[in-house]
Assembly symmetry: C2
Homo-oligomer: 97 residues x 2
């Protein structure tokens, strides 16, 4: 695999890496219909708020979610709905056999 191709797949892998964590997948489901703040998500999951902030940062960096600032809250919402389509398709295929 040459360097150029290698970079292409490394970049694509970053997207999957960003999605490859239970908390981050929970976030995606939580903000698919309504926006939620860091604190709300933190309480829903039950982890340290700094940990939640870092998970959100990873998703935000890859433009999987986007945040809007209101007062001193930041409300996040899903920006790539096709993640959900993929998950339902993948689960269907994987659980079939």
């Amino acid at each position: 695999m040459n360097t150029e191709i290698e970079k292409e797949f490394a970049d694509k892998a970053l997207i999957f890496k960003a999605l490859a964590h239970p908390t981050r997948l929970y976030i995606i489901h939580a903000v698919k219909d309504k926006s939620m703040s860091v604190k709300e998500l933190t309480e829903a999951v039950g982890i340290d708020i700094s940990t939640m902030s870092k998970h959100l940062d990873i998703l935000k960096k890859h433009k999987i979610i986007e945040g809007q600032k209101v007062k001193n809250y930041i409300y996040y919402k899903l920006s790539i709905p096709c993640v959900l389509d993929f998950m339902s398709c993948a689960l269907k295929v994987i659980n079939k056999k």
Copy 2:
């Protein structure tokens, strides 16, 4: 997040983890149209064959690829085409902004 929901997202995360590696994404693209053996894939990527075998095992365990034995070769092919649909959609959305 209660235990049941936690397990649901942990399971889903395993699928993304399985996909979250450059070599494994390369494999998926390589075997989307034609089946390829472990050795062929190893030579295409340029890594140790034992490393390739382990990557294939991860994809196989999650039923993302499936293998067919012919003589002493095992030919792998993609079993979840919707992975490709998701990737093209995700890249489109992510690179737009």
